[in-house]
């Protein structure tokens, strides 16, 4: 188990290293950091002075190594637009995004599990067809449009929830639905196919022959094995939600990391953009790593590969 974890960890670090190179290259090659510091209407002489003062005139590789060193020691940079350290700004915003992503996953799971299990128990029944139709619709609905429709229906017409903002749990309900619903279809499909496969296996037949109660067989013996691949998928979906939070947080005006990303792009805050891409990649890699470790723990066959 330790070797397995170490191997996974090492791989994650190499991937993160590549991500850092791409991020740095992307932001530096496409945008001039001197303009970001001095402002759009600075003269060429002023820009040159900024380049010398901030060290932007040195080779990119040198700047990259220096940046990577700072990032590795926990210093994500300084936002010249907000005049504050990037990390401080991010820390303020994390709770909103973390709550939103957690609730969204809860929405996805609480739709996907019952529908997936019921569909697997009754293949080709009306409930199976219904959940399949819901999945097809869910995957085609753009989340910004769905978010706006939720606002129109449940915040404006019925006034059950606030139109926007991030104060109190009530204001998280609509955004969590808007972000979570699109993750439900893939999870549901995986549970359905996994359950159908497991339900046909010998040990389930044995359990049935021994006269165990149906709900006991389904929930305790079958689901436990069918849920293994779902763990990885849920980690991937949670990662997608961090990326998708840009849209949903903007639609609902919530001050989380996603909206911060959009705002940083609007005001060409290069250091903040770089840091955000890095942090979101890192969280995604950690999630995948945790899912891998959990899977390796749950299923010893995986560790040996």
């Amino acid at each position: 188990m330790a070797t397995y974890v170490l191997k996974r960890l090492a791989l994650s670090f190499v991937v993160l290293f590549c991500v850092s190179v791409i991020t740095f290259a992307l932001v530096r090659l496409a945008g001039d950091p001197a303009v970001a510091v001095a402002g759009q209407d600075a003269t060429e002489a002023e820009l040159e002075a900024v380049r010398v003062a901030m060290g932007f005139n040195r080779p990119l590789a040198v700047q990259y190594v220096e940046w990577l060193g700072r990032v590795a020691s926990g210093d994500l940079g300084y936002s010249n637009i907000l005049r504050r350290p990037v990390l401080d700004v991010m820390v303020e915003r994390i709770p909103v995004t973390a709550t939103l992503a957690g609730l969204s996953l809860l929405v996805a799971v609480s739709v996907a599990f019952p529908l997936g299990i019921l569909s697997a128990l009754h293949p080709n029944s009306w409930i199976d067809r219904l959940s399949l139709s819901l999945a097809v619709v869910g995957q085609a609905l753009p989340n910004f449009f769905f978010g706006l429709m939720l606002i129109m229906a449940f915040a404006v017409t019925f006034r059950w929830f606030p139109v926007s903002g991030d104060s109190g749990l009530r204001s998280f309900v609509l955004p969590a639905i808007a972000l979570g619903y699109s993750s439900a279809p893939p999870i549901m499909r995986l549970i359905r196919s996994g359950m159908i496969e497991v339900l046909e296996s010998d040990y389930i037949r044995t359990a049935r022959a021994m006269g165990l109660a149906r709900h006991r067989i389904v929930l305790r013996h079958a689901l436990r094995n069918a849920v293994l691949p779902v763990v990885s998928l849920m980690a991937v979906q949670l990662g997608f939600m961090l990326s998708g939070s840009i849209i949903v947080e903007t639609v609902f005006s919530m001050n989380g990391l996603g909206r911060l990303g959009w705002q940083s792009i609007q005001r060409t805050d290069l250091e903040m953009m770089q840091a955000l891409v890095m942090v979101i990649s890192m969280v995604y890699l950690v999630l995948i790593l945790l899912a891998d470790i959990l899977n390796g723990y749950l299923d010893p066959r995986i560790r040996i590969r």
């Binding site: 991937v15 590549c18 097809v136 753009p142 990326s243 953009m273 990649s281 995604y284």
Partner: protein, 302 residues
Amino acid sequence: MSSMPAPHAEAPGAVPRIGAGRILRRRALAHPGLMIGMGVIVAIAIAAVLAPFIAPHDPYAQDLGARLIPPVWHDGGSWTNPLGTDPFGRDYLSRLIYGARISLIIGFGAMAVALAIGTTMGVLAGYFGGWPDLAVTFVVNVRLALPTMLVALVVVALVGGSLTVIIWTLGLLMWDRFAVVMRTATLQIRNQEFVSAARAAGCSTARLLLTELLPNVTGPLIVVATLEVAQAILLEAALSFLGLGVQPPVPSWGLMISEGKSHMFFRPWIIAIPGTVLFILVLSINLLGDGIRDVTSPEGRS
């Protein structure tokens, strides 16, 4: 991801070739989802191609005296502007028709870029195995670790929101599924007898890949391609909605929703119309993709 079907493998000689196309056509015609999806896509594509002839007005012509006219089914609507006008007084139906061009061009363009990159990587990884396989798997991991939406926004913001930039950005961010599926499909086929036979007959590797392997993985390839077109259309709409995609005054459905957003409380139709059309197009593409998967999979699900 793991639900991809086995590739449409028909070994020459083993299966009677006569009538294979007919069976496929009969299955396709009997599949309601596939036919509905295809019908809607063809209709939208025709509208997009013939836009100059069927659009009732110039999609760019502003008329500030005729701002925010409601659609014909509301009070105050008229057949002059069947779907009303936007906040600049431009005809909504005309912008919608021209917007279909943007969605389709970006959807298919980004898919083509992704297909070229992903298929090359997937086939090479699956066919050669060993270090090419490890390398491709690693690059796929790096790609998956990059947050698509954020990176796309950064690139478009820094480079500029032209059609070409958006197509290339999305294409470069979306090839991973092609690579994964093609790798698996190639792995399943490369050890089959007809591939060994071609190798024994002295085929070069390039010829073997192009004439023996690729024709046998077209089923899953088309399925992934439709999914990616739908995904690219959704991403473009989201980028344009956030103001960092197609730039005004070009009519994009995402941009229309964004421009109508501040008027939606009193005129819900202003976002409902482009949103619904976007939803219908993406739904149709997904239905078509699911249908092709059902029809081409060996079991031939009814």
